[in-house]
Amino acid sequence: MVRMKVLKTSKLEAAFNKLVGFGDLYVPMLRGSQSGFYSWKTYNEDYDDLMLDILNVYLPPKNFVLPQTEKLYSFKQEGVAIDIEEVKQKIEPKILFGIRACDVKGIDYLDEVFLTRGYDDIAYKERRDSLAIIASACYNPGTNCFCESMGVNPTEIESADVILREYGPEGYVWEVKTPKGEEVTKLIADLLEDEEVKLPELKSFLRQVEYEGVAEKLKDMFEHPIWDKASEPCQNCGICTYLCPTCYCFDIQVKSWGDEGYRFRCWDSCMYREYTQMAGGHNPREASKERFRNRFLHKLQFFPERYGPSLCTGCGRCVVVCPVGINITTIIQDIKEAE
């Protein structure tokens, strides 16, 4: 038993109402048939279910740093002249409450892409800097969770500003990790209590896979028959990329009416033929198998070669939603066992 600051479940709603002092507060809810992080401002108890005990919400929180669509600039053409005006994003502070280790790690990987190696994406950086992360430690992994296998620690969440630890139905340990966490905590200081609590033990993962050595081994497996077999059922529907907390590929598209309009960035998917379709007809990844292979190699070999870790956090969403039952852990396993 250790003495810790705790937030009682009975005071959660009171805490939410105070946390909005930092910025818009997003909490896990089931809305209609989809769970996701929705604004506490929009919570309607007749329609929404608060789901703090849900492990992974259906919709990953990547949109908080990389919105599904985002205007880049507007333009107007008058005769032969054009006028281009950058769209300044209105970025307000936000709190993500109850986000899990896998999704926090997903944001870490997006940070690697958009904020490192000589490139700072300005709007991304502003959104990231104004985001406070109150993460929830997982002690009881779900049936499709395999974050631990992908090197994610489900209880010690590095990039969290505050870590919540549910010690029982009565409440959460409130562990402050960063100055931003301090700032957020000040808002609810009067609701926190000192209490002797016993933290639960982390239960073992039902789904496990050995990732070590896979990136290295894949270097010689580009032409391996494993890709024919694994990609055969894939319908290239793209749901895995849509729900993946780490899939960040984007398209830049135009919306125009007459001589004016705007250009915007939006999520894209490597599962679609148009993704690499070139003018004139050539497509280097014309076949479904080629696109499938590129997706898995990007996750398991190319991203590690460029950035270090694999681009999978073991959240399990793609395993759950794939309409034909493609399972990344099975693919990793098959790679390990392949000759």
């Binding site: 600039y73 281009i84 950058e86 398209d251 135009v254 993704y275 690499t276 050539h282």
Partner: protein
Amino acid sequence: MHKCDCESPLTPSVVEIMDIVEETSDVKTFYVKKPEGGVPFDVMPGQLAMVSHVPVGEGMFSISWQEENEYLQVAIKRVGLMTDELHRLEVGQQLGIRGPYGNGFPVEECKGKDMLFIGGGIGLAPLRSFIKYCFKHREDYGKITIVYGSRSYDDLCFKDELFEKWPKEKNTEVYVTIDNPEVCWDGHCGFVPAYVEELNVSPENTVAVTCGPPIMIKFVLESLEKMGYTDEQVITTLEMRMKCGVGKCGRCNIGSEYICLDGPVFNLAQLRELPPEW
């Protein structure tokens, strides 16, 4: 990297078409400058720029020449929706442009070498930036051999330079071929790779740079290997669909390399390290 006065590297700056030269029935070279004059940014040979006809779309093109402080030249082949619209434009039209992107040709490393340029079709556009750079810094490079081919006489780009200007340059040989005989043509006929083998330029202290349709590149690489060129002596440029230009949007990867950022120029030794998707 980005030289426009806007904050985001994805926002273009404005340029104006100051001249259009019809190279062939489907290739036009656009001369662009800032409305107030001058280039929007400096490019090295082989680098790329994203050109937008704003209401229609953006496309990544190789800059085929930069006349310092004056204008950029972009040779564009009409192959799809966006390029079709570009070909309809007239002098004075303003466009968006952002860049420069990509690594460009290794102009420094090639100093002191003999240069063998092998181009096919519109593939001469990127090579041309390097060829003209060599002529501009003529004393830095040895003998220059240019082998260029296209389907027909009409499809040969930059004819004025090919037949008039370049052959007159010091220590330079230009060889032009077309795929099939034509009444008006008394030059060489046949495909580029075979012509390269026939000419058999010695690999000694030579760098070969090739760009053209993928199928031509494939056979040219084989020819050069037969002629004794090592993988380090052979340079080519790759093409992929691109959107962002800064290695983030994802689509132009071959293996873990992004063509817009790490390419488009690679030597054959580097290419052999990549998955065979090029």
